[in-house]
């Protein structure tokens, strides 16, 4: 079985992200594999172990995104491909989906394409569905458990009211959630393999597609308003006096 895990590189979750001059910045915080995509790689590796096959990690991003792909390789992915092109610097999810779909076609014969539930940066969670649409493949979203049987994929999804089981014939596009299982740590053998790996870079020309038009544009970017809090210490001679002053304050501020 040929499995493709689509991943993205994002700023570390502890980074202080802010708007500056109309751009997003995260200072010198490190870039890491999107934490949700670690589950995608984990899900893909679980299926490889269960039924055999290969896992290819696929990522759109700048040169630095190699590090995210290396992480997937160190976890156990067999190969990694970086799609990088100056025309892809500012793209929306539709454009990303078109490019990913082209790359998935170029990889060829994929049986299962796995995504994380969303990215930590844009967080729209739409790309999975859009890739499925572009490729004309069934989508099994937010899978908590995956089982491959006789050419079909059955997934279990936890919803508020209980569990839903859905299935589709392969090839399928999947997104996975945390209940797939904690992502494994990279193994030392994987680390050595990843550090020596030759990761091919595909440009838009390699994929044979034009720079996709960006439909959704960012028009404004601002930091959340600073919530200023004031602290006032109520003092008094006796506990009763403090309590009285506090009650007066609460009533005056119309808290009660």
């Amino acid at each position: 079985m040929k499995i493709i895990a689509c991943i993205k590189q994002v700023p570390d979750s502890e980074a202080k992200v802010k708007a500056e001059g109309g751009q997003v910045t995260w200072g010198d915080a490190p870039l890491v594999i999107n934490p949700f995509d670690e589950y995608a790689v984990e899900g893909a590796l679980q299926q490889k172990e269960a039924v055999g096959g290969t896992v290819t990690a696929l990522c759109i991003g700048p040169e630095s995104a190699r590090e995210a792909l290396k992480h997937a390789l160190a976890m156990g992915a067999d190969e990694a491909i970086l799609v990088s092109d100056p025309a892809l610097t500012e793209i929306d999810s539709v454009a990303a989906a078109r490019v990913l779909a082209a790359a998935i076609k170029k990889v060829g014969d994929a049986d299962m394409i796995v995504f994380g539930r969303q990215t930590l940066d844009n967080g729209s969670g739409l790309t999975t569905a859009q890739v499925a649409r572009v490729l004309g493949l069934p989508l099994l979203g937010l899978a908590g458990q995956i089982k491959v049987e006789e050419g079909s994929v059955r997934v279990e999804r936890v919803i508020e009211e209980g569990r839903v089981t859905v299935s589709a014939r392969m090839p399928v596009v999947l997104s996975v959630v945390q209940s797939i299982g904690e992502p494994r740590y990279p193994s030392f053998m994987g680390i050595r393999k990843a550090s020596k790996a030759n990761i091919p870079v595909w440009s838009l020309a390699d994929l044979g597609v034009e720079a996709p038009a960006t439909v959704v544009k960012r028009t404004e970017l601002m930091n959340p308003p600073v919530d200023e809090t004031k602290v006032e210490m109520i003092t008094g001679e006796t506990p009763e006096a403090i309590a009285e002053a506090l009650v007066e304050k609460i009533l005056a501020e119309k808290v009660l």
């Binding site: 992480h71 160190a74 990279p186 193994s187 030392f188 050595r192």
Partner: protein, 402 residues
């Protein structure tokens, strides 16, 4: 000169850091308070390959180099000292000594299960009445046909009650004029008849770590379990300490980093006299010192890692790294408590644990005083490294990884 870490090294750091953050950070305080080892710790470190990190794949290891071993120790001890202690006694004193001095049969029989984490090893050198003074060693072994009979007691042995086998240095020739020629080293199965082990409680620090004693009463040790030749025990023990001290140095560097990070975080949020205490110069001085010490300690152990990779003897450089990093870690933890004020004095914050943990390393594996004597010996030209029958092998990626 290239000071950068390779992608392999960086990924090793991240992997070990992720492991301790995810699995050890949530429970360390609880086990430290209870003075109990974390039950899953050895098993997990074995499963993840950390216990066998610097050994060739052919001997059950992970094929990483000596520098990666130090980097892993730094990450482990930045979380808690007891994790690094495992790397010192299991990976360093016992497995690495077998790798350096063992016959091919001994490597297959003992190193492979140690490197895979299937068995746990420790190093038993210290006795109730003796530490660095080897002439005072009382544990002894007498040859009796195809085996030796071992008698005596070892104390302050990390993992004593958890280990399956121990590297034990004992006196085999009490009549030897030179105390150092009187010793031999054995690989002892701790499940043998006549072996008793127990734990020591009430330690100042490393409370989640297992420390204990081992007693031997007429323990039969087959001749094929002798590591090296009879009379080579002193040399084997000293080279074991070269490995152990490297892990102690790199680990203590982790404490400095942890104390520094905790201090920076606290100093930026705690305010006095209307501003964060990080803006007070006396606090800045403490933080600057920690930051400088971290850099020095790191470079000193990187140097040792590099020398080990090149297969060069580095007793002197290891001594510098060990003494500097352990003393600087004690000082950094102490200042971190000062910066945290009363909160630092409570176990609500980690810094008091760093201080308690850091003290032991100034005593074990050659106290600071012994390190000073070693360093003076080299500086005065009174001490020189003589070639060993079995030198620690240089790192060879081909041999290690295939």
């Amino acid at each position: 000169m290239d000071f950068s870490l390779s992608p392999e090294h960086q990924m090793t750091q991240k992997m070990v850091r992720d492991f301790v953050q995810k699995e050890i950070a949530p429970v360390i305080k609880e086990y430290d308070r209870r003075q109990e080892p974390i039950p899953f710790m050895l098993k997990r470190m074995g499963e993840l390959g950390i216990l066998g990190l610097p050994f060739p794949v052919r001997y059950g290891g992970q094929g990483m180099d000596y520098l990666a071993w130090g980097l892993a120790c730094e990450e482990l001890e930045a979380m808690d000292t007891h994790l690094r202690v495992v790397m010192s006694v299991h990976t360093g004193l016992s497995a690495m000594s077998i790798f350096q001095w063992g016959t091919e049969e001994q490597k297959q029989k003992f190193l492979v299960p140690l490197a895979k984490g299937e068995k746990i090893g420790c190093g038993a050198f210290t006795e109730p009445g003796m530490g660095s003074d080897v002439a005072a060693m009382r544990t002894n072994a007498k040859r009796d046909g195809d085996h030796y009979l071992l008698n005596g007691e070892k104390m302050w042995i990390s993992l004593a009650s958890k280990a399956d086998l121990a590297l034990v240095t004992v006196k085999t020739d009490p009549s030897s004029p030179k105390p150092s020629s009187a010793l031999s080293t054995f690989i002892v199965d701790l499940h043998s008849e006549g072996v008793k082990t127990g734990d020591i409680h009430g330690k100042l620090g490393v409370r989640a770590g297992s420390t204990g004693w081992i007693s031997f009463t007429d323990v039969k040790v087959p001749v094929e379990n002798r590591l090296g030749e009879e009379g080579e025990g002193f040399k084997i023990t000293m080279s074991a300490f070269d490995h152990g001290r490297y892990t102690v140095a790199s680990g203590a560097t982790g404490i400095i980093r942890a104390a520094l990070e905790a201090s920076v975080k606290y100093a930026k949020t705690r305010t006095t006299f209307g501003k964060p205490i990080s803006e007070h110069q006396l606090i800045q001085e403490k933080i600057a010192k920690m930051s400088q010490d971290y850099e020095i300690a790191r470079l000193l152990y990187y140097q040792v890692g590099w020398l080990k990779n090149a297969g060069k003897r580095c007793t002197r450089e290891t001594s510098f790294a060990k003494k500097f990093a352990t003393e600087a870690s004690f000082s950094a933890a102490n200042e971190a408590i000062q910066i945290h004020g009363a909160y630092g004095f409570s176990d609500e914050y980690d810094v008091e644990r760093y201080l308690r943990n850091s003290k032991g390393a100034m005593i074990y594996e050659g106290s600071s005083e012994i390190q000073t004597l070693i360093q003076a010996g080299y500086a005065l030209g009174e001490r020189a490294d003589k070639p060993l029958r079995c030198e620690a092998p240089a790192y060879d990626p081909e041999f290690w990884q295939n």
